[in-house]
Structure formats: structure tokens, C-alpha cells
Symmetry: C2
Subunit: 406 residues, 2 copies
């Protein structure tokens, strides 16, 4: 008898019929001899509707009250799902974030999970209930409601799995798992059966939309084994767990792509060495997430720095850096390039397999694709290419590492 936490997102519970589908899946899991905890999101569209209502009242609603408002979305879906389970003749009990014992800290609309006291959930499991918990929310020490920000329901599920000591946490989405590359781009992309936390993290941060990095980090921290699965079928998904030696046999596990990238380059810098922190602070104050950073000193002794970021942030970045130019040097200039994309190859096997970079850039060169900025981590190599080249780039690199074969 295993204890399984299953997480279903907003589209999986988006209609009454879909709620019934989830109820059936939970019941099947219990009938197979397991203890079952569900963590679910609000019905798709509800959260946006509530935000719309708030904005009818004012432009910048106080975040404390926005949390009170938004938390009702999950509170509705847990009640409806419990009704559906009851209607099918099985025992269910709903738990808001607070009732599930999810204690948070930090700020409203982006609370962080502190501890989980799962005693009530475990008691309900002991009584034979399927427990249905509201994702995305918790309660701070002062009793006020926190929501957990984007991807918060995944985080709730992973944290709940840690608290109840679940054997596995299944994250249900609308895809069968994590693929060697986006199947819409690379037709022969394969589902990856097992990934390490590190690989999942690198894929999340390099464009794979399956799961947010902080949920993966939480799982890694508490050694929660999780599996990304499709809520519309029963196919096995991608299991994410601690790295083991067998994972190193493959040099590369997957190819991620990220579109809508832009590059900003500041050149002609003659200011003293502190200029990097001047630039990074200016971008941070403008709330711009930068991705790749390349810095070097040119032959004439003047420094230049380049950054990539989402295209949508380009205007803000230009405005923030323009003000800074006079401090960076007399001849300091700003240069921007939009219409870029980023290609990344990820794999823990990179550590022990030589020549991965050579294979990547060889394949791109052979296809006549020019590369721009390059950045690497221990288990990832990323490069920018022209947006128009990204799909072909993904295909040739995917093929170069034979990722279409098991």
C-alpha cells in the first residue's frame, strides 16, 4: 500500500466533466490499494476572472486582499471535487491551505512554504478518505491567507508529499512527461523516462514549460520523487529523482528551446571595475530577469558586457541602462538585438563525456546556423541563434546526439 499525492492543474478541473474525470482517477488509484491525497488548482479561467474583478475595483489592489480573493478559486474546486467523489460512492474530505496545515511566510501573492502540519490530512487518510487539498495557498503565522505565486500548486503538491511522506508525487499536466525536445518542433522527440533533479532544473530554466524551478528545488531539498504525467491518459510519465550513476551514460538528455529572447550590449566601458554591479543593480531595480551574461575586455582596453532577457523586457532595460551610460565611460554605448532564441542541451553525463560542446557547435555549423552568445553550466550548454533558425537548430542538435533513440 503506497501513499500517492496527485496534483491536477486548472485545465484538468476546468469543467464539471473534467472534475468527474479527476474524481474517477483518484478513486481508481485508491481502489488499486493506495492512500490518496489530491492537490488541485482553481478551475481554469477562475483566477483570471477574479483578478479581473479586483481590477474593476482598482488598478493595484492590496496584495493581502488579492490573496483572500484568489484563494476562493481553489476552495471552490476542492469542494466540487469532493462532491464528485462522494457522488461516485467514495469518501472524500476537502482541505483549504490552512486546514491542510500549510504554513507560509514571506509576502502576499508570492508566499513561501515554511512548514506543513499534515496531522489532519493523515487522520482523514486513516479514516479511508481521499483527501483533496487546495494548492497555491497557505496561511501565515498571523492567520492571513497567502497565495504562492505562479506554479504554486506544484509547490503545494511537492511540499504535501514531503509532509505526508508520500511514496511518490504525481504532477498531472496536459503532456505525457518531459520530452527530449518540444515534439511540436522535433517530430521524433521521445519522452524521457527518468531525470535527475539537476537536469529537470536546467530544463526548467532553459525554456521547458513543464514545471517551475522552485518546485523542483523543493523536491530536491526534501528528496521527493515526483512524476510528470498526463491527466487524460494512463501512460507512464517522466520520473524525477536523485541522480544515480546510470544517468551519466548519456551525454545529453534533452534539448530545450526558448523563444522571444533579446540581447543588450553595453560597450565602450572605461569605468573602474564596479561597473558590473552598477549595471546589474540598474536591471534588478527595473525588475528585469536577465539570463545569460557575457563579459570581456576588448583589445583597446575598453570593456563590454552582454545580457540576454525576454524580448518584453527590452524597452525597460534600455531605459534603465541609458541613464547609467554617463557613469560607465565617455564613449559608453548601448546596442540591442531582438529576434533571438536560445538553444540549450542538458545532461549530467556532460560531466564525464567529453566533446559535447564540439558536437553541438559542429552540428549547427554544418547546418549553416550562426551562433551568438554562449553560456555553460556544469550540465548545460546554451547558445543564442536567430529566432528563424531555432527549429532547425533544435532538430540538428537533437539528431547529433541520437536523442530519437531510446
Amino acid at each position: 500500500m503506497a501513499l500517492i499525492v496527485q496534483k491536477y492543474g486548472g485545465s484538468s478541473v476546468g469543467t464539471i466533466d473534467r472534475i468527474r474525470n479527476v474524481a474517477r482517477r483518484l478513486i481508481d488509484t485508491q481502489k488499486a490499494g493506495n492512500r490518496v491525497v489530491a492537490v488541485i488548482s482553481a478551475m481554469s479561467g477562475i483566477t483570471d476572472k477574479l483578478i479581473g474583478l479586483a481590477h474593476q475595483v482598482m488598478d493595484n489592489p492590496p496584495e493581502r486582499e488579492l490573496d483572500v480573493l484568489l484563494a476562493t478559486g481553489e476552495q471552490q474546486s476542492i469542494a466540487l471535487l469532493c462532491m464528485a467523489i462522494t457522488d461516485m460512492g467514495f469518501k472524500a474530505r476537502s482541505f483549504t491551505g490552512g486546514q491542510a496545515g500549510i504554513c507560509t511566510y514571506g509576502s502576499h501573492t508570492r508566499g513561501r512554504i515554511d512548514t506543513i502540519d499534515a496531522a489532519q490530512v493523515i487522520r482523514a487518510l486513516d479514516e479511508g478518505c481521499i483527501c483533496v487539498c487546495a494548492g497555491f495557498q497557505g496561511v501565515a503565522q498571523d492567520g492571513s491567507i497567502h497565495t504562492l505565486g505562479r506554479g504554486g500548486s506544484d509547490l503545494s503538491a511537492i511540499a504535501m508529499a514531503a509532509a505526508v511522506k508520500a511514496d511518490i508525487c504525481q504532477i498531472y499536466t496536459d503532456v505525457d512527461g518531459v520530452y527530449t525536445c518540444d515534439p511540436r518542433v522535433v517530430k521524433d522527440a521521445r519522452k524521457i523516462p527518468v531525470l535527475s533533479y539537476e537536469e529537470m532544473l536546467e530544463m526548467a530554466s532553459s525554456g521547458s514549460k513543464v514545471m517551475q524551478g522552485r518546485s523542483v528545488e523543493f523536491a530536491k531539498k526534501f528528496s521527493v520523487v515526483f512524476e510528470v504525467r498526463n491527466s487524460m491518459n494512463n501512460n507512464p510519465g517522466t520520473i524525477v529523482q536523485e541522480e544515480n550513476s546510470s544517468m551519466e551514460s548519456l551525454a545529453v538528455r534533452g534539448v530545450s528551446i526558448e523563444r522571444n529572447q533579446a540581447r543588450v550590449t553595453v560597450s565602450g566601458i572605461t569605468a573602474p571595475v564596479a561597473y558590473t554591479s552598477l549595471i546589474l543593480n540598474a536591471l534588478a531595480e527595473a525588475e528585469i530577469n536577465i539570463d545569460m551574461i557575457v563579459a570581456n575586455t576588448a583589445h583597446d582596453g575598453m570593456a563590454r558586457q552582454s545580457f540576454t532577457m525576454n524580448m518584453n523586457d527590452l524597452g525597460k532595460a534600455q531605459a534603465a541602462l541609458k541613464k547609467l551610460l554617463p557613469k560607465l565611460g565617455k564613449g559608453a554605448r548601448l546596442e540591442t538585438e531582438s529576434g533571438l532564441a536560445k538553444l540549450s542541451v542538458v545532461g549530467v553525463g556532460m560531466r564525464s563525456n567529453v566533446g559535447v560542446a564540439a558536437t553541438v557547435f559542429g552540428a549547427l555549423a554544418e547546418a549553416g546556423i550562426a551562433t551568438g552568445m554562449i553560456a555553460t553550466s556544469e550540465i548545460r550548454i546554451s547558445t543564442t541563434v536567430d529566432a528563424g533558425d531555432i527549429e532547425q537548430a533544435a532538430r540538428v542538435v537533437h539528431a547529433a546526439f541520437h536523442l530519437d533513440r531510446a
Copy 2:
């Protein structure tokens, strides 16, 4: 500096514009130098919409989960109202039933208020906040959510007023107060400035729709002075408080009417004396609220009993009593009459003013209106009339007691 609790119902917060209107009223009350607690309902229509969703899932949803679902209605309106107050530049803090410290017992969907720990609300008042509490809901000792049933938000407001020791609890509705009679029926009906709890209770139980009896009882028990007011203007309303000697000067304070009444008579009863409890138990088991009871023994030694009830319950009552007839006597018969209405006159002055009944029945007789069953309490006289006669009956009785004059 007074402490004022204001309660606004669903139609008063039914749109964003109306929510803004309530925000303005609360702010005006605070600006006038008062500490302000609001207790509000869900936006009108939301509760019905949520019940509709539940019934899409199943016919008889489990009440625990129905409460979880319904409680989101008020949770949304408190958040939106706090946003509106903030938008106008004032401090506000929302409280769900649980956060407001409203502890309940009893059953789901009709929880009863046990205690209120208003410490958090008082702390927020001390910080200068307008406190906005969700009506209609509380939390049971085991942490589960209770709703309080029909009229629950009035009850929340009265109870909160008792807990924070408010100087007054203002119940805002869509009428200016309690009238000497329904102004749609009696054109020269006047607003009653002051009523005793007992008079308000009798008027509530005899058709006045302004407030449910159990909220009035709660106010009486904890000596909460409350005022029924109109949320769309600033007119003084009807204050309800402890009886005082000046109230006895008027024999009659108001005339209530209740339509859609039916009468059931069981005659030919020869069973021993326990028959009354047999009949009442049968009606109670069928969940029928009976109103007037008249019992007597006819000249032939056979007993007969008559009851009035809402017309909608007539079918159920017939079915329940039919099964019982054989136990009541060989010749026991059931006789029913629909299409009735009830007229009641109410006033604590009845105790010391003689001739009230004579005036009522004299006025009706003069107008040629036949009366049916009659029931009395210490401060109320009620009679049934044909439904078609009720409006004229109300007018002649209202005139007979000169209720159109201050």
C-alpha cells in the same frame, strides 16, 4: 467615539458600483469619529450560482463540502470591499468567519454561533482599520467551515456587535426600516422609530420579512441595540432595543400580513389525549413548520384540531396526516383549505390597553371581512382571512388604530 457594526446584504454589494457605495458609507461613518466593523454577505446571485454548480455535480451534495463552496461567496465580497476602501485612501482589513473568531457548533449549512473571539478584529480597529467581516460563516472546533443558514449574515452582525461591545448594530437593507404595515399595501404606513425586541420578534414571526427571528433573539439575549436602515439613503431607521415604559402608551405598533397560508383540520378524533403529540410529531417529521394551532372538543365529544402553515407545505402535510388518521379514530377526517392569509396586530401596549381585540374584529366586521382561525400571544392577535380580503383587512385595521399618525 462610538463603535458601530454595519451589516450589508447581498444586494447592497451586488455590483462593483454598489461595493463602492458601501465603501463610501463605511468611510463616512469612520470620518464621523467612529470605529467601524462591517459584516457583509456574498454579492447577490453568487450563492445561487455556487449551489447551481454543486447540483451540476450531484443532487444532494454533502453539506460539509457545500459549506466549503458557499463560504467562498462572502470571502470574495470582503476582499473586494477592502480593495474599494483602500482605493479611496482608507485602511481596511478583511476577515473570513474563522479569522473573525466566529466559532460555531451544530450542523453544516445551519451552524449556530457558539462564541466569538474578536481579539484580531479589535486589534485591527486599534490600528485604524475599517474591519470587513464575512457574514453567514464560522469555523467549528475541528476547523471545518460552517455556514449559518438563511439570515445568517444578520446573525453574524448581531453576534459580532455583542463580541466587540458595539454601541449599535446597523442592519442595512433595501427598506427604510420597519413599517406600521407593508407600504405597498397600506399607502399611509409609517416607519416605526423604536420597537422592543418582543415586538420585532412577533412581527418577524407574523410575516414581516425584514429580519429573521433568531437574529432578534440573539440581540435580545445579549442586549445588542440594533437599527434597521436603508443602504441607499441616510434616513434614520427603526431602532430595536429593550422594552421601556414609554412603549406601552400605544396599544398597537404595527400590522403584519402573511400570504400563501393554508389550513388543515383533523376532525372526528376519538383517540385518547395523546393525539396532539401524534399529530405534531408526524408534521415535525415531515419537516413542516406549523404556525397557528386551534384545538377544541365538539359537542359530540369528538375533538378537532386545526393548523395553519405555508401553502407550499400543504401537500406534504396531507400525506403525513393521512397515514395517521386510523390511529386517531374510526371517523377521523382530514379537511384542508388553501388560499388564506394571516393578519396580525403587534404591540407591547396590548398588555395594558384593553379592547384591542374588539377594535380589530369590529373593524373587520364593519368592512364585511370574515375571519377564520384566531390565535393570540401576550402582545399579538392574529386571524386568518380569505387571501382576497387581506389588503383591505390590513387597511381597515391600520386605520382603526390610527397608525398613520405619529
